[in-house]
């Protein structure tokens, strides 16, 4: 019989944060993504910090685990904007990712190059960004993704149909209860309206135990040890595959080294593999090994964010809607400019993080800790963004492409 598998999927991403951009900077040839004065928005400084705290130690740990346990495997997605930053500022960190992928125990998952929400605004642009990501992954890692995830794990029936036609084997999505209803997330499913595509749904309870609750000393299960966690997983009496999806930065950045997260990572695969019916699989291995047990209908968009599991953290308020509509409103003119620098700046502004920084829904609750932002307030985020948008428009007018 086939073993029961953990599908551990990690997502690595850094945006190009917008620096302080005043209305008086419009038309002055100022770089949008260069912030020398404020370390929170200084992309190189943030990257250096995350490399030291997370990428380097996590890559090292994962490589050890791969050498130690022949059955240990992971799936990884890495955005184009992060690869670009690593190429520019830390090639040796990119090398350590390459080393990991070269073991053939790491599957690369496809997505948009710019970690954007283009799927919901411009299908043509979305296709471009997916292709750009495929090209970059081929160039850097020599791999062709066969599994897809959309930004923030956003997903609906339309995305499934798109992925099916584009030839992907599987899509990753949130195992959200209203969608699953009575079903368990621990199986392979087929999205409605697709021919061969399969769906892997995140077990959010078990994923978030690591990603969000691990270091929370007020959590009833704190401290979470590898054997306790393996015990929970072994106790699950259904399913073929347990899908643990989380940010790569969970290790060392969201959960600090001092929380014991790296010790947990060191010991957990061994604990799980003690049971000989247990194994690890990459996402594509899981969908190759198991048949879909049922179809899943997702008529509205789900994501892996917040208690709402929707796009409201990115598009929930009028500032966010204005900003993103303004940005995609320039699509045609920007693309017809044939000015690569202009197009690339426009694409970097599509990164979903920019809209997340404008979210006001937590701001009132005083829950600043839940609010990762390089800016003092969502209003500052919006002002910087809109001023860069005006600058894009200014550059278009300079080219005679008045809007």
């Amino acid at each position: 019989m086939t073993k029961r598998a953990i599908v551990l999927y990690l997502h690595a991403h850094q945006p190009f944060r917008i620096g302080h951009f005043s209305t008086f900077d419009i038309g002055e040839n100022k770089n949008y993504f260069d912030e020398p004065n404020d370390m929170r928005a200084n992309n190189r400084a943030v990257l250096d910090k995350v490399i030291q705290k997370s990428y380097i130690p996590t890559n090292r740990k994962l490589l050890e685990l791969i050498q130690q346990h022949p059955e240990f495997k992971i799936s990884l997605s890495i955005t184009g904007t992060l690869i670009e930053q690593l190429e520019k500022w830390s090639p040796h960190t990119l090398e350590s990712f390459k080393e990991l992928v070269a073991t053939d125990k790491v599957e690369i998952v496809g997505e948009t190059y710019h970690h954007s929400l283009a799927f919901f605004y411009s299908l043509a642009e979305f296709n471009n960004q997916v292709q750009m990501h495929r090209d970059k992954i081929w160039e850097v890692f020599g791999k062709k993704p066969t599994v897809f995830r959309n930004t923030e794990l956003s997903y609906n029936n339309d995305l499934a149909v798109w992925a099916d036609r584009a030839g992907y084997k599987a899509v990753l999505a949130e195992g959200w209860d209203p969608i699953l209803q009575w079903r368990s997330p621990n199986y392979v499913y087929r999205p409605v309206g697709t021919q061969t595509l399969k769906l892997l749904l995140k077990n959010y309870k078990l994923s978030d135990d690591i990603a969000f609750r691990f270091g929370d000393q007020n959590w009833e299960s704190w401290p979470l040890t590898a054997d306790k966690y393996a015990h929970w997983l072994n106790a699950i009496d259904n399913g073929t595959n347990i899908n643990l999806f989380m940010d790569y930065e969970t290790f060392g950045e969201h959960q600090w080294k001092e929380s014991g997260i790296f010790d947990f990572l060191s010991h957990f695969p061994g604990e799980w593999l003690k049971n000989e019916n247990n194994t690890f699989m990459t996402a594509s291995e899981a969908v190759d090994s198991y048949d879909a047990v049922d179809t899943i209908d997702t008529p509205y968009t789900t994501t892996w964010a917040d208690t709402e599991r929707d796009l409201s953290a990115w598009l929930g308020n009028p500032m966010q809607q204005q900003a993103i509509e303004a940005l995609y409103g320039l699509s045609e003119k920007i693309l017809s400019s044939n000015d690569w620098a202009l197009i690339e700046d426009w694409r970097k502004l599509q990164t979903s993080d920019h809209f997340y920084y404008m979210c006001t829904k937590w701001f009132n609750d005083g829950d600043i800790h839940a609010y990762f932002s390089p800016y003092d307030s969502p209003y500052i985020a919006f002002m910087n963004f809109m001023n860069t948008w005006h600058d894009l428009r200014y550059r278009l007018t300079e080219k005679g492409l008045d809007t």
Binding site: S22, F24, M319, Q322, F382
Partner: protein, 401 residues
């Protein structure tokens, strides 16, 4: 518990936020088992039922104000060409003497004095009665002088009194830091109790706005920025004018409305002319009641870019009336108000940038209004009253810290 409260003003005879803060704080305290007797330096009829109001001196609020207001400490006045210290010092002295003559103070548990004008009286009464003295600092001399040294006599009164006090209450962390820096008072003697805001009456939208001309201009696409407060160095209005000049370069249909008076009025008028923006800058003078309120509601943006502001009530009033606000990071209110734009007082370009952003983006403006209103709904004085009740209890038990 019985509190002898020494204050300088109460609405409607107040010259600014000091009187409002005292009034609303006492109202919140009166809900608890706390009796307050509030001693004023003037004699007027008040319709206040939650505490006893007593006049230390027999003259009217109007005649007192001729000698200066609670904020006039550092200035020379220019009467008939003669420069002299404002007689506010004499008033302060009269109040001290009158307070000493008060009878019946034996029954009080605590003396609680608000701002420097009443501090000497507080110290005197402490010496006479041995009761604990709490000084409530709504502003210090360096605030009132716009970050300068100010009047050495006022500083002396503040420093001596603070050394003598059993406990000091500061209206913000900003003010606490200044007290430590200026007067070398130990940090653990100072508690921060942020001010809050009481409920503001609903605006009757059917009544026309008093600023009829501005309302008409707005129908023609003009945008109004309001500054409500004294025209004084502390409020950083020179920088505001320079920033507004930059705003008009990009948005010629912008109007800056000043409501208030003060020693900088002429200087500001001249500067506006020099910058070529006289047509865009309006001075409405000091206003109360409907005109004061309409100055908020006519605005697309309220600004308070003070050099140093111990707390700052006006931005909360603006938020309460559904107006977006831009405040300086150097204000105490910025410690409690989240849904506001914030800028360093010296950063003229950024100030202009943020003003323009609100004038040009309806969605930013709306989002500030919606979230600001929610935040205002959650504000009240009960937290401050609870903190103060605890300080009273400790003071009575003789516990410091």
């Amino acid at each position: 518990m019985k509190i002898l409260m020494l204050g300088w003003e109460l609405p409607p005879h107040n010259s600014g936020g000091l009187g409002v803060a005292c009034y609303q704080l006492c109202e919140a305290l009166s809900v608890k088992d706390i009796d307050i007797e509030f001693v004023l330096p003037y004699n007027e009829v008040h319709s206040i039922d939650f505490m006893k109001v007593r006049a230390a001196l027999s003259h009217s609020a109007g005649s007192l104000r001729i000698s200066g207001i609670a904020y006039d400490s550092f200035k020379y006045t220019d009467t008939q060409g003669n420069e002299q210290w404002l007689s506010i010092f004499d008033q302060q002295k009269l109040y001290e003497q009158a307070a000493a003559q008060l009878t019946g103070y034996e029954s009080f548990d605590i003396i609680h004095a608000h701002d420097w004008l009443t501090f000497k009286a507080g110290v005197l009464l402490k010496q006479k009665t041995g009761k604990p003295l709490i000084l409530h600092v709504h502003s210090v001399e360096s605030d009132r002088s716009g970050g300068n040294y100010g009047n050495p006599l006022a500083r002396e009164i503040e420093q001596e009194s603070m050394l003598m006090a059993d406990k000091i209450v500061a209206v913000s962390q900003h003010t606490k830091n200044i007290i430590i820096a200026d007067y070398a008072i130990p940090a653990d003697k100072i508690e921060v109790i942020h001010n809050s805001i009481g409920k503001i009456d609903e605006v009757n939208l059917s009544e026309p706005n008093s600023y009829k001309y501005l309302a008409a201009l707005k129908n023609h696409g003009y945008k109004v920025i309001s500054s409500i407060g004294r025209l004084t160095i502390q409020k950083n209005l020179i920088n505001l004018l320079h920033a507004f000049k930059l705003v008009t370069n990009k948005e010629p249909k912008a109007i800056l409305l000043f409501v208030g008076n003060g020693e900088q009025e002429t200087e500001l008028l001249l500067l506006a002319a020099e910058l070529g923006i006289s047509r865009n800058v309006m001075f409405a003078g000091f206003q109360r009641g409907k005109r004061w309120r309409d100055a908020y509601t006519i605005a697309d943006l309220f600004v308070m870019p003070s050099v140093s502001e111990p707390f700052g009530l006006t931005p909360l009033e603006a938020v309460a009336l559904g107006v977006p606000v831009l405040i300086s990071k150097q204000s105490g209110v910025s410690e409690v108000l989240k849904n506001a734009l914030k800028v360093d007082f010296w950063d003229v370009n950024e100030m202009a940038n943020q003003m323009l952003a609100v004038l040009q983006n309806q969605s930013l403006k709306n989002e500030l209004i919606v979230n600001g209103s929610k935040e205002y709904e959650s504000m009240n004085w009960s937290k401050a009253a609870n903190q103060l009740e605890e300080i009273y209890a400790k003071a009575v038990r003789g516990v410091s810290g």
